[in-house]
Symmetry: C2
Amino acid sequence: MSGKVGMAVEQRDEQRDEQLDEVRWLDARQQASWRAILRGTRLLEGALDGALRGNGVQLSEYEILSMLSEAPERRLRMSELAAMVVQSRSRLTHTAKRLEDRGMVMRESCLDDKRGVELSLTPTGVETIERLSRVHVQSVRDHLVDLLTPAQFAAIGDAMAIVRDHLDPEGRSGR
Amino acid sequence: MSGKVGMAVEQRDEQRDEQLDEVRWLDARQQASWRAILRGTRLLEGALDGALRGNGVQLSEYEILSMLSEAPERRLRMSELAAMVVQSRSRLTHTAKRLEDRGMVMRESCLDDKRGVELSLTPTGVETIERLSRVHVQSVRDHLVDLLTPAQFAAIGDAMAIVRDHLDPEGRSGR
């Protein structure tokens, strides 16, 4: 009886091994690298967000102000902006509303397409991004750039540019 | 009059240049690297999340199931688990509630501390993580590992481990 159970278990294990063989699992080294990337980037985003929140702005809000500040006439279509900061359109709408309530951006109809909506930076928004860019660059240095050698930092940038271009072949995200 | 205004502007510019000098801005190459890292990791998380959502589970939910599946007795304290997946305690509470409603995890008092709460994986949770780990590893390969050389991938892992250890010196995030 126990022999039969043993065989049944063995057969199940064989079937399972066949299934497993189709999957190209990460080896231990790759698994460790992947987890370091996943947790490291999340901790980093948390640290950058924390530094900005201490100054009253979230990271997702900062990115929008930053993209607008670099755009021609400091204005962008909502659809373009969502792609640039890699946020869903609905999340961007919420974030834009919060920034509008604080007088940092204005929502307006597109000049050339009445159905489209553009976001533009107000003078308060310009003042905010000029002030917070100093805070932000310091935390990017403290928690990323200055921890690594220049070659290490450039290597991550090059690798993540490959990932970005693979997932965003049309280059709609902010460069 | 216009001369005075001109001087005032000049003085303001000088003051501003002094302020700017204190800030160690990123150069163009560093700025490009940083944006590739920021957008690339966000696009990557979106792709991994999308692959799992096609199977009914979000990335944040998957990470919790994964950490539980590797823990002794497949159970962890909520506080430990929050640190492991780098989520706020309140966000983890919401995610755990969703997983509990679908029968994948159970919330229980800690065996050794009645005030603490532990999360444990149910048989449904075990089945889910075994099935979805195949989906997940394939998308991690498709959108990251297999796009890079082994040396490139290892280099990002090493660099992000430095960032992780700097922001989490006690090693509370999942390894």
